[in-house]
């Protein structure tokens, strides 16, 4: 049932403007893949090319063993859930679900059975006779997913399907889509700009920027071992801290760097060309620790500028002596007031070093 998708050097150009620059990607059968990236990174364009709604300017798209470049959208075995739901406003929910099957020439009994089954999965049986305008946002979203399910496609595509829902509903629908994936086992591609959705739902995340793949991998792999500064900064909330650093020397054990006016022994060697190279050090807010002797390396005192109490954790926005800004995330509720000075430290093992070109060292 589940289907493999392969992109080979996929290119999309609009006249002279190239939007997608030769993307190679393999999505394994049954995998839940999330395309994530900032606005304009090409994630939706890539999805639409897979769907058949956008012409492929160059490269090859394979679904299983078949080249799909010129195949019409409806013949690719794909169903898509749109950001705006795109429900037909003049048809009842039942007609919305049945429309694709009617177009494909299914018998009435088969249509009834499939619609009933999809309605059952999504618990929308009581809505079947209503028009889309009489539904809430969450209900519309379910109908949109139902319209995809009834067609029993090989691949599901989701184009930012939760971006119009409120925060609570978004969490609920996120779980439901994940459950749906477990139940159906289909290959699914999900586009979002929300890195939390990407982290929580994906088997595989594809981070895109300016029409190029920045990194592909399992969510925690990307979180723990970002391949470049962009991925490091994009995934994680609050964002990773970046501090300018300079390579000092190579001792026998590893390199030392200067950062925030202090020397830090990394305990490992970096793939760098020579001393004095300008670097960027990244450290996640949860890896910056509070306290006098917190962590192997001290960053000294920092002034607390702003405190965010989230209940389960406290987020401090601080400034170091040299003016570098550092966000600190600490478990629990800390009684720290803005303006106070706190000692900060970190473990070099959790530090990420990036070269001038943004690549991890």
């Amino acid at each position: 049932m589940a289907t493999r998708i392969e992109l080979r050097q996929i290119v999309k150009s609009y006249g002279t403007l190239q939007a997608i620059h030769g993307i190679d990607l393999t999505i394994e059968p049954g995998e839940f893949t999330v395309f994530v990236g900032p606005s304009g990174c090409g994630k939706s364009t890539l999805l639409r090319m897979i769907a058949g709604l956008e012409e492929i300017s160059g490269g090859d798209l394979f679904i299983d063993a078949d080249r799909m470049n010129g195949v019409p959208a409806s013949k690719r075995g794909i169903a898509m859930v749109f950001q705006s739901y795109a429900l037909y406003p003049h048809m009842s929910v039942y007609k919305n679900l049945a429309f694709g099957l009617e177009t494909a020439g299914y018998k009435r009994a088969e249509i009834d059975q499939r619609v009933a089954q999809a309605a059952d999965i999504l618990q929308i049986q009581h809505l079947l006779q209503r028009r889309p305008k009489a539904l809430s946002g969450g209900q519309r979203q379910r109908v949109a997913i139902g319209r995809a399910i009834v067609r029993e496609p090989k691949i599901f595509l989701f184009d930012e399907p939760l971006s119009n829902l409120d925060a609570e509903l978004r969490v609920q629908m996120r779980l439901e889509i994940a459950k749906l994936h477990q139940t159906l086992g289909n290959t699914m591609i999900y586009v979002t700009h929300d890195q939390v959705e990407a982290m929580t739902m994906a088997d595989k995340i594809v981070v895109l920027r300016d029409g190029r793949v920045m990194q592909v991998g399992a969510p925690l792999d990307l979180y723990n071992r970002p391949a470049n500064q962009f991925v490091a900064g994009f995934l994680g909330s609050p964002k990773m801290n970046f501090l300018p650093a300079r390579l000092d020397s190579a001792a026998s054990g590893g390199h030392t760097i200067s950062v925030a006016g202090r020397t830090l022994d990394l305990g490992r060697r970096l793939a760098v060309t020579g001393p004095d190279e300008a670097l960027m050090m990244g450290v996640r807010p949860e890896h910056v620790v509070l306290g006098e002797n917190a962590g192997p390396a001290s960053l000294g005192l920092a002034r607390v500028q702003h405190v965010e109490q989230l209940g389960g954790e406290t987020i401090l926005h601080t400034a170091l002596d040299q003016g570098d800004v550092l966000t600190v995330s600490s478990a629990g509720q800390l009684a720290i007031r803005p303006g106070s000075m706190v000692p900060l430290g970190l473990d070099p093992a959790f530090c990420h070093l990036f070269g001038a070109d943004g690549r991890v060292l």
């Binding site: 898509m80 705006s84 003049h90 519309r140």
Partner: protein, 293 residues
Amino acid sequence: MTSSAAAIPAIHQPAERRALWRSILIHALLIGASILMLYPLLWMLSGSVRPQDEIFGSSSLLPSSISFDGFVRGWSGLQVSFGKFFLNSLIIAVLATIGNVVGCSITAFAFARLDFRGRNFWFALMLGTLMLPYHVTLIPQYILFLQIGWVNTFLPLIVPKYLATDAFFIFLMVQFFRGIPRELDEAAMMDGCSPWRIYWKIMLPLSLPVLATAAIFSFIWTWDDFFGPLIYLNDINTYTIQLGLRSFVDSTGQSDWSGLFAMSTLSLIPVFLFFLFFQRLLIEGIATTGLKR
């Protein structure tokens, strides 16, 4: 406390009085303008039921006596019954309206949604025809229809409408179709729809307001058209109402004015009913609320 309470009406009263006077003035102006516009119509209605000699003799709208002789004379006073003219007008107006709505909506769909070579050029060219007066194309058209033997039939008045010759309606529909979210087309494409099925099952049902608008104007303009039938229809059996009405005015003999006004009054009824019926569609137009925007 007391003084401030007393001060409030003092401040408000002149303002209220001003508003009242403004309202009276506006209403008086509007009523006056309405009477001015309705007067010819009321005069015609009055003329259809008043004695023949009183029609041009009195400027009053109220007839001295009411008589429906004009209706009887008008209906059967010509060589052919006026019912025949009604039927002819109805055939031409209904078929032309259907042709306009179908032809223009298909063309508008192509301009709004399909990608084809030179789309913008053809669209601009089509809009350019809006600036062509009817009279410029009249003679070439007449010669064309004469050569294919269509003169003195309804065909020159009906068939061109199926070829989307009304650029104004095409433009109107293109604008409306562009307002329908493209994602609906894309969803339909994913559902396996061809462009034809998208047009028929998605675009048309969502475009009822603009289709109704086109239908109303198309019907009224065709029904009221005098010049087209005058050029192409010679046999009295093929006459439309407008040509029939002209037959009451005889330049050599005596004109039957009350018959003319009576039939003119009757000729307004279908237009009025057509407007009433389709005007509901304009209001009931389906809102595109399936999309969260």
